[in-house]
Symmetry: C2
DNA sequence: AATTAATATTAATATAGGCTAATATAGCTC
DNA sequence: GAGCTATATTAGCCTATATTAATATTAATT
């Protein structure tokens, strides 16, 4: 599933924003997102599953709790797609600055 | 409408990829996207409208033709949202490199 | 001016996917 | 171990939205 198909949902985006600030339990996420969007524990849990299966988040058990964390790989995909359009808004940069601006892409482990 | 809601559609993404290579007429886009996705002129035209109204693309008339072009503003929104997650995958950069890597965000015209 | 070409619009339909309700599973606490 | 807590799963419903078919609009061509 394409990264944008996953990010094209406000609940999932909000969950990821929460995870961007650090790990959170399912319960924490349900509390915040459930309140903000007025949806049930079930709905949030289902979205967590989508994020897990799509590789945007990972889980580990902590007793009965499930602790979620951001999984960065898929975000790079999004960033890479944006490269198609960066030339439309980035100022002209010299070669080194361009390299840096691209997040030193070449350092990434080869596919 | 949130930028990701717009990008969460494969047809719209493909149209934007085409526009990333330069301006194209509606007819050109219909030809490529229509063939690749097996959809009608109408469907493509409606997606072009969505992209126009969402500010991802602009049009100008050229006789009976409509010439579409990328409109960069909304892409910056996406890039900005990604900032939440960059720390998870970007190498540690010094202050200057970080500034450059962020596309000199501060140069952007104030909201 | 009539016809054709290029594109957009409208109305109706269908499908995907997000949601609720109910239930299941697993770990804690007493 | 019984009951409570935390989370996940399943089934069915509902809505949003992408699509088609038909039609409208505007410009080019003859």
């Amino acid at each position: 599933m394409h990264a944008f198909d996953i990010l094209g949902d406000p609940v999932r985006r909000r969950i990821l924003e929460l995870l961007a600030t650090g790990e959170h339990s399912s319960g924490d996420i349900v509390a915040v997102v459930g309140r903000e969007f007025g949806i049930t524990q079930s709905a949030v849990s289902q979205q967590l599953r989508v994020l897990r299966e799509a590789g945007f988040a990972s889980v580990r058990a902590d007793g009965a709790r499930r602790i979620y964390a951001v999984e960065p790989a898929r975000f790079r995909e999004v960033d890479d797609w944006l490269d198609h359009f960066r030339s439309f808004w980035l100022p002209k940069l010299d070669a080194l600055a361009t390299e840096v601006a691209r997040g030193k892409r070449k350092r990434r482990s080869p596919k």
